[in-house]
Symmetry: C2
Subunit: 355 residues, 2 copies
Amino acid sequence: MPKPICLAVDAMGGDFGPEINVPGSLVAARETGARVILVGNEDAIQAELSKHRHNDVEIEIVHTTQLAGMAEKPSDILRRKKDSSIQVAFRLVREGRAQGVVTAGNSGAALACGMFILGRINGVDRPALASIMPTLKNPVVLIDVGANADCKPYNLVQFGLMADILAKHVLGVVTPKVGILSIGEEEGKGNSLTKEAHALLKSSSLNFIGNVEGRDVFAGNTDVIVCDGFVGNVALKLSEGLGNALASMLRTELKKSIWSRLGTLIALPAFKRFGKKIDYAEYGGALILGLNGIAIVCHGSSPARAITTALQQAALFVDKKANEQLVAALHVNTELSLFSRAGRTLASRQEASAL
Amino acid sequence: MPKPICLAVDAMGGDFGPEINVPGSLVAARETGARVILVGNEDAIQAELSKHRHNDVEIEIVHTTQLAGMAEKPSDILRRKKDSSIQVAFRLVREGRAQGVVTAGNSGAALACGMFILGRINGVDRPALASIMPTLKNPVVLIDVGANADCKPYNLVQFGLMADILAKHVLGVVTPKVGILSIGEEEGKGNSLTKEAHALLKSSSLNFIGNVEGRDVFAGNTDVIVCDGFVGNVALKLSEGLGNALASMLRTELKKSIWSRLGTLIALPAFKRFGKKIDYAEYGGALILGLNGIAIVCHGSSPARAITTALQQAALFVDKKANEQLVAALHVNTELSLFSRAGRTLASRQEASAL
């Protein structure tokens, strides 16, 4: 019998700590059969556990003494908070006691822990943040949503290769359609980064469909969209902000008269279904791809449901041996990879000579 | 008595041609007192004019014989369509017969006509597209939304200076708050472009408030947000796409049962007010800033209302002598400008030596 999947949860992470991480973990453990290690202050975790039925799932607690703040500098957390729940949770993965980690804590710290505690998969130049977003049709994976503000063209190809594996094994898409976020449909449109990346993606093993414009992201005709981490982060946060702004404007208008209040009340189930469809909690968090182990960072204000979804995604990722698939995909694209490396070396030489 | 403002309209532009451009122009002429020159096929324009009252406004027709397609290459339009309505409309501004031009036609062609027919204001390195967008509070000017896919830090400073004038004189903001679109609130966050631009903006004459994140764009706490044309175009089109996707999802849910249909019907006035609030037609089009003359590009599917708004904005821009203000603002920031030029020359030398 294979060893069951074991996942570590940063129980103190996020705006609500154990209150959301514990119940979210219990549901995930029950639904996936995975063992969950709750990392954090034992008393706080036990207090929350006592409020829920949990004798039917495998739960372990690893006690930690330090707290990593949401606004603290990642480098400070890494250096000075060796016994923080976020750092210990990542260490459990490095030590092989867990195969994946979920945190709703400081996302910069999660990236730093991923890089320095877990380390990159051999051959991955830059790990990246992948976000699964709702669209009019199937969800789309947007990568990178913030790990790498400045990218080289070959980084975008690796992002595509990593997100392709995610779409295949976690979202169940047989042949993911991979596009590049740009500012025009034609191949020649874009900035210098996307134009070069476009050429590389075309020669990769991916099912590359070309440029995707901002207005097409939510149409749902693409499974994976690659971009640099600056553009991706702006896109992700802009979507969040616009969604909230529109909801707030509509709510204001609907509350203005007794009639529209009545209408809203009658149509409430429809508003609720709509809310569920676009609720990011249903989509978990952002996956850090390219690490030795899978790590998922949830929004600081995540509800328990988002923690459950993230753990389910992590369990699927581990179960499907996605990281091994990823190494294989990088291998298939070795030539491309070699070409990129050559390009990179050339570029660094030029940078050096320009100094 | 000062000469009245005269504006040229590309009457054939957009998906609907004279059908929207003519009535849109008539309303604007009536409301602003500006003279409007309708440029395009005279028969088509006359046919549309005959459907509306127009003896109370000053309208002139300039007949053209060629049509510039929405999908045609801008360089082809510029070279081979000398008698297209879009090109002739821009030429009227160069010849001093009009002070501004509005088109719902090919936006790439409008940019090309702006650059090659009107030319840049002395001292402006790169003209840019400014879009006025609705937010929870006052409208925000996002610049650049697509004219310059690759930018240098000092370009972003000039974008800020130009949009500041727009916010002051067209939107009536006394001291516009200018931010830079980035991926974190702290000064050190962003990509290499925004970090360098941040430093330059701080030393400019602008009321610079620092980094603005994607989620804050629609909160309405900033009057001007600068970014490169790639990021801005993605942001603009993403907002448009997300707005449409959310509306479509909500509509689907509301249509699912007889009860929610009834509720929607009762709340219809609220939905209509909401629709008007976020309708881009109320916000005109994107202004090309930095040219000798003002040019506004409307969405291809613009209704007449958008043409009217664009003409009103153009009339205000001319009336407030915004281009002269712009020259003055560039002058105040000369030191910065000189510094930037030096930086640019150095950069091109490095680029040349790297070849």
